[in-house]
């Protein structure tokens, strides 16, 4: 199944953005980014169980690794983004059509075909995939070495590991897509911490005003700004 099916709609994004602004307005009266956030290991997930959280930390760290070019999913706090999204409207498929029939091999334009919500897909998918790791490597995913983790994820992506419990939804597709979203979304939603991903690719953020730069053939020099006004 195409990962595009899981894409948040523009309207949904705006709604969650508005909710996010409202939430941040209540909890961040003045520039809360100046206080360092709680470490990922000490973070209490809103949706995930402790076991699932351990898996998400390990899996996202392989999808966007910290070594090499640019920041990884860990430093940008992608797991927090995924946790918050699954606890919210996206995780609960709040504005998706979820009635049957569900036809797993229907063409992509027929939309999402699993009876499970994204949050349920994660719950089932993590349990089954971790069980596969235990049976094949004698340890849950998080305890495997990086090369074995990469191989397991690759097998999951290619369909060599088939998860029956996700009932037609692509667990890997969701995980990869949400990891990218958490990496590049506005920090308001928990990921892209410090706008590090934007700094890395040179995206100037939510300034939305470059009229005077039209036709100027050099890179825009200023760092990004976030929806809540952080500067980097």
């Amino acid at each position: 199944m195409s990962t595009r099916d899981h894409s948040t709609t523009r309207r949904g994004f705006l709604q969650s953005a508005a909710a996010g602004v409202a939430v941040s307005a209540m909890t961040h009266p003045a520039m809360a980014q100046k206080q360092p956030p709680v470490a990922l290991e000490e973070y209490s997930p809103t949706y995930f169980t402790a076991e699932e959280w351990t898996f998400i930390l390990a899996a996202t760290a392989r999808l966007i690794p910290s070594e090499g070019d640019g920041p990884g999913a860990t430093e940008t706090r992608v797991p927090v983004f995924i946790d918050l999204q699954l606890a919210g409207d996206f995780g609960n498929a709040a504005d998706w059509y979820m009635e049957g029939p569900h036809v797993p091999d229907a063409p992509a334009q027929f939309g999402y075909q699993s009876p499970l919500t994204p949050a349920e897909v994660y719950r089932a998918g993590i349990a089954e995939f971790d069980e596969w790791c235990r049976q094949n490597h004698n340890a849950p995913f998080a305890e495997l070495d990086a090369a074995t983790q990469d191989a397991a994820l690759t097998a999951l992506q290619k369909g060599d590991i088939k998860l029956a419990s996700t009932q037609g939804a692509s667990f890997f597709g969701l995980l990869l897509q949400n990891t990218k979203e958490g990496y590049f979304a506005d920090p308001l939603y928990g990921g892209n911490h410090g706008m590090a991903a934007w700094v890395h690719i040179g995206f100037p953020g939510a300034r939305a005003s470059y009229l005077e730069w039209v036709g100027i053939d050099k890179p825009y020099p200023l760092g990004p700004v976030s929806i809540s006004g952080e500067r980097a």
């Binding site: 602004v21 941040s24 307005a25 961040h28 009266p29 003045a30 520039m31 300034r207 939305a208 005003s209 009229l211 005077e212 730069w213 825009y220 020099p221 200023l222 760092g223 700004v225 809540s228 006004g229 500067r231």
Partner: protein, 438 residues
């Protein structure tokens, strides 16, 4: 020693008698100004139009309240004054008022029961209104307004301002003679002067106040008239100086601002939004032209020329625009905040967009001595009134959630010195005070 005591005793007695006289001897009501036939009946809509000119709703209709049922808080330097119910309800409104009693309120600021109104009621200006308009207003408020039975909050100022009889002394010192006397050979200017000086009561906000808080001049013959005042900490800008907006703008731009709250240069904020919403947008084309002609006539400059469409050539950017255009990461916090928060709509040249985004370069709200208005708009945003000519109630969002007090201070300081602006800085404590007060 005995003699001295006697003299003191006598003086005290005299003082008490004088105070008693001021407090208890009824005041003489100002008689009608001008002859109107006894059987005068206002034309259809004449009373409502006079009400629009006088903008009674601005104070006497509470936010979300029934029309003219009062209960709107008016902030004054002496405390909160609550507007009264002026619907024709006989018990809680003005239903029992005779025409003479109604006129006594408008002209002398004295209630039916003899109590003095606080001069938040602009009887300083209304006392120059014509008898015909008084009669039309009376007819409207007795017959054209739904009676609403509603007791409003009583105004309770602290001593000594709760001693309403003291206002009599103030009236005696502060009030000009009643009635409007046409001064020009031009009927358009006379009509404009009448609207601005009397029912329009523009001077109530836009004229400076004397040391006793009376309007410094109530007509165009006074030097102080419309030279800029203050309301609730906001500036009510000068309307006459050569550098004031009404004198720099063209006649058509000034007219557009009055009728729709926006033009190619600016957009209305604060109390003036209510004036546009409840009063000015209802003025006839002729009356708007008269007001514009009069305001330009009493100004110091020659009045702005009509603008020609811009030529293709762009002027070389000034220093502020050049700095903003550079997007140089080493720039100070103020300009950086402007780029991050303001530039998308107001642009790097501070010129905004015609009829939509106000100019910040040369904007009287930005450069006013009183910074409350500017800080209020940055912190809380602003929404244009929806008018017949321009129904879209365009809004600027508030940035109070996005910017700390230090950042608002840096941004405001930048704005006040950007482009051709030359106003002083704003400090963090002032922002903090305005944030908690808003």
């Amino acid at each position: 020693m005995k003699t001295l005591l006697k003299i003191i005793g006598l003086l005290v007695l005299l003082g008490l008698v004088a105070v008693a006289a001021i407090a208890f001897v009824p005041i003489r009501a100002t008689p009608p100004q001008g002859q109107v036939a006894a059987d005068f009946k206002p034309a259809e809509g004449q009373g409502e139009y006079a009400m629009r000119l006088a903008d009674c709703a601005a104070c006497h209709t509470a936010e979300g309240g029934k029309p003219f049922a009062g209960g709107r808080p008016i902030e004054s330097p002496f405390g909160t004054i609550w507007s009264t119910n002026i619907t024709p309800d006989p018990e809680t409104g003005i239903g029992g008022y005779t025409l003479d009693e109604f006129r006594h309120v408008l002209y002398d600021g004295v209630r039916r029961d003899g109590a003095h109104l606080y001069p938040a009621m602009p009887y300083e200006n209304y006392r120059m209104a014509s008898e015909e308009d008084v009669r039309a207003l009376y007819d409207y408020f007795m017959n054209g307004v739904e009676p609403v039975k509603s007791e409003v909050k009583k105004t309770a100022l602290d001593f000594p301002f709760n001693q309403r009889w003291g206002i009599r002394v103030w009236d005696w010192v502060g009030l000009a003679s009643p009635g409007f006397k046409p001064r020009y050979n031009n009927p358009v200017l006379n009509r404009g002067a009448y609207i601005v000086e009397t029912l329009g009561h523009c001077g109530a906000c836009h004229s400076p106040r004397t040391p006793i808080f009376a309007q410094d001049g109530t007509d165009g013959t006074s030097d102080g008239f419309l030279r800029g005042g203050e309301i609730a900490g906001w500036s009510a800008p000068d309307l006459r100086g050569a550098k004031s907006a009404p004198q720099l703008w063209s006649a058509s731009q000034l007219k557009a601002y009055l009728a729709s709250g926006r033009n190619n240069h600016s957009a209305v904020t604060g109390e003036m939004s209510l004036v546009v919403q409840d009063s000015l947008q209802y003025l006839t084309n002729e009356d708007l032209d008269a007001v514009v002609a009069y305001l330009r006539h009493i100004g110091d400059g020659d009045g702005g020329k009509e603008e020609l469409p811009a030529s293709g050539e762009k002027p070389a950017p000034d220093a502020t625009t050049a700095l903003l255009n550079s997007a140089d990461p080493s720039m100070d916090l103020g300009p950086r905040l402007y780029l991050d928060n303001c530039g998308a709509c107001h642009f790097t040249n501070g010129k905004g967009a015609d009829g939509v985004f106000p100019e910040l370069d040369g904007n009287s709200l930005v450069t006013a001595d009183q910074v409350t208005g500017l800080l209020h708009v940055i912190l809380n945003g602003s929404r244009l009134p929806s008018t017949r000519e321009r129904p879209a109630d365009l809004a600027m969002p508030g940035f109070g959630k996005r910017l700390s007090d230090e950042e608002v201070a840096a941004l405001a300081t930048f704005l006040r010195g950007a482009w051709s602006n030359k106003a002083g800085p704003v400090d963090t404590a002032t922002v903090a005070a305005n944030r908690s007060g808003s």
